[in-house]
Amino acid sequence: MKRFTAHRKSAALTGLAIVSVALLTACGTTSGKSEGTASSEAPTKLGANEKSVSILAWPGYVEDGSNDPAVDWVSAFEDETGCKVNSKTYGTSDEAFNLMKTGEYDVVAASGDASLRLVAAGDVAPVNTDLIPNYAGVYDFLKMQSWNSVDGVAYGIPHGYGANLLMYNTDVFTPAPASWDVVFDKSGQYKGKVTAYDSPIYIADAAMYLMYHQPDLGIKNPYALDETQLAAAVDLLKGQRENIGEYWSDYLKSIQAFETGDTVVGTTWQVIRNSLAEGTPAEVVLPKEGVTGWSDTWMIASQAKSPNCAYAWLNYIASPKANAQATEYFGEAPSNQAACDFTTDPNQCATYHAGDEEYAAQIWYWSTPIEKCLDGRTDVKCTDYAAWTTAWQEIKG
């Protein structure tokens, strides 16, 4: 009996091993997706609308009234075009990038630190902007930028943009800080109460600071760093790490930390400032070194099942009214020049400096760092996002 069970046990184990290997092979073949390149062409004319369109976007970009009955710009689109909208929200650019790999989505709203990767992976297709009448109303300084076009080919249309500003506690800082040095070189004075954005892309903030203060490093674009420049930025951030109270990526966490006084200074978004409880002693400022920021792009999947509805959505969301509703709800500047007439708060566009080209010029928009230097240097290889991710983990320690 004993020998029999032992025998059976080993047979069962062998069976299990065979089955798991078979399963793994099956999984392996499905995930071994062919390496995509941006080969598909943009359409030259549109057909009839399909019945539905699936959209992947930041929270607050595609609101159909299910979160707040008063916030709804999707129903109007559905009535107008007959395209039923299925939407999914994501929390980080990296999550969006992974979700787009599933091929389930027709349209994605991508920030600059995802858009180029999506193009390179072949997940999104070029967009023929002639088929989008509302594209004409978009601010010129947002069109054909490095984060929404590749080699003169448009890969999407701008949605809205905003800046990563410096927020400070007005009780601690008198007068207001004018430079990012309060979170870098002088952060020691506020040890344990400094915050920073928890993402590899934050390295660009340090690079931008170095660009101003250490010109001999030769940084021309904070997203194009060679090995030496990245090392300098990492050193700066490692020094900052000593004084960081906590990093934030969840903006509600940042709001709370400023309200309780656990954080007194650090990078922030305008929408965080606007969401602070009444009476919180905190203000934002645009420091002299400039700021990083984001400019989001609506893109169409290369494998889109409903390309016509996708184009209809891109046109709709770029229309002044929908653009105003969506960007005002999220708290950023709209991309459409006429959108400011449709905001419920008349000061919306002033608060977010919409259309202020001078303000926009001070923003270094999030771009994915790649090996081929974004600043045009050809004599040196730049560090890519993977190197930034590794560096970021080392900085945090």
Binding site: V19, G32, K33, G36, D94, G245, Y247, A386
Partner: protein
């Protein structure tokens, strides 16, 4: 009986003959073949355990031997030990591993120290009524979401939180967000999982043994050390496995109250979520697995697992 007599033939007629249905044939088959019965009964749970659980784990380990194209994010299935080597030699992973194990050990020690007196009171001192009330009280925190509890500690330990308010008059200060806050919060979260096995272990210690020890002149300390402790040792080990392994894998609490610190779970999380580097994440995930296996092996040598 006589009254029922006329109904008798009808009753007989209602009893159905053995009709040859599929269900009947099936049950006959099953009753004749006990081996088949057992197979059908166990196949679903075994399928779950074998394929869904163990194969998923195996898939994770195999993923650690692959690499990822960092820009396009596609996994290339060439076998390489690079990820394992990176994880073993990288100073980042060593620092974080030491930090994580330190936190897990401290949490476990604190939890056992807190749980022992509570469990002893519950099992040996409290009246049956109070015993029930205390069990419910211990279980109560489990009804609330993990996240709610972690965020509650976030506000308790904040600069204008209740802790600061309590200790400020005595010159104390809140530890703020950081590793101490993480240890406090994790100790709180896993306490019920440590109390319950120790309580169950103490329940099994007969009162008569304590009395016998006292009658033979054993002092309280000696009784606890020589009679109670050896008997509940397996229960303490069981509790420690819970708190140690749960702390080892945690990344949410440290994210909420840990300030700028990261633990192994955070490294896994950022490599899956932010860096899209599943193979490296899988390699990092091997560290806690190896540590837990090591811990279980040590525990096994003490013989505690046999009495669980």
């Amino acid at each position: 009986m006589t009254v029922d007599a006329p109904a008798q033939p009808e009753l007989r007629a209602v009893v159905p003959p053995h009709r040859d249905t599929i269900a009947r044939r099936g049950s006959v088959l099953l009753s004749k073949h006990p081996r088949l019965r057992l197979t059908l009964l166990l196949s679903a749970p075994l399928f779950w355990l074998g394929l869904v659980y163990i194969a998923a784990l195996a898939a994770l380990l195999i993923t650690a031997l692959w690499t990822v194209d960092t820009f396009t994010g596609t996994i290339s299935q060439t076998w390489t030990l690079d990820n394992i080597i990176t994880v073993l030699t990288g100073s980042l992973y060593q620092t974080v591993t030491v930090r994580t194990v330190g936190v897990a050990v401290l949490v476990t020690v604190i939890d056992i120290a807190v749980a022992l007196p509570i469990a002893f009171y519950m099992a040996k001192v409290a009246s049956p009524r109070w015993q029930r009330i205390l069990v419910i009280a211990v279980l109560m925190p489990l009804w609330a979401s993990y996240l709610v509890k972690a965020y509650a500690w976030r506000s308790v330990l904040s600069q204008d939180g209740i802790y600061e308010w309590l200790v400020a008059p005595f010159g104390g200060h809140t530890p703020g967000y950081g590793l101490p806050a993480t240890i406090i919060t994790l100790s709180y979260l896993w306490l019920p999982y440590v109390i319950l096995p120790i309580y169950a272990g103490l329940e099994r210690v007969p009162d008569s043994l304590l009395e016998a020890s006292g009658d033979l002149g054993g002092k309280t300390g000696a009784t606890l050390r020589l009679v109670v402790l050896p008997m509940i040792w397996p229960a303490i080990i069981a509790g420690s496995i819970f708190s140690f392994s749960l702390s080892l894998g945690d990344y949410i609490t440290v994210n909420i109250v840990g300030g700028a610190n990261q633990m192994l779970g955070n490294l896994v999380y950022t490599n899956v979520g932010a860096a899209n580097n599943l193979p490296l994440a899988a390699a990092i995930a091997l560290i806690p697995i190896v540590i837990i296996f090591g811990y279980l092996a040590v525990v096994r040598r003490t013989g505690a697992l046999e009495n669980l």
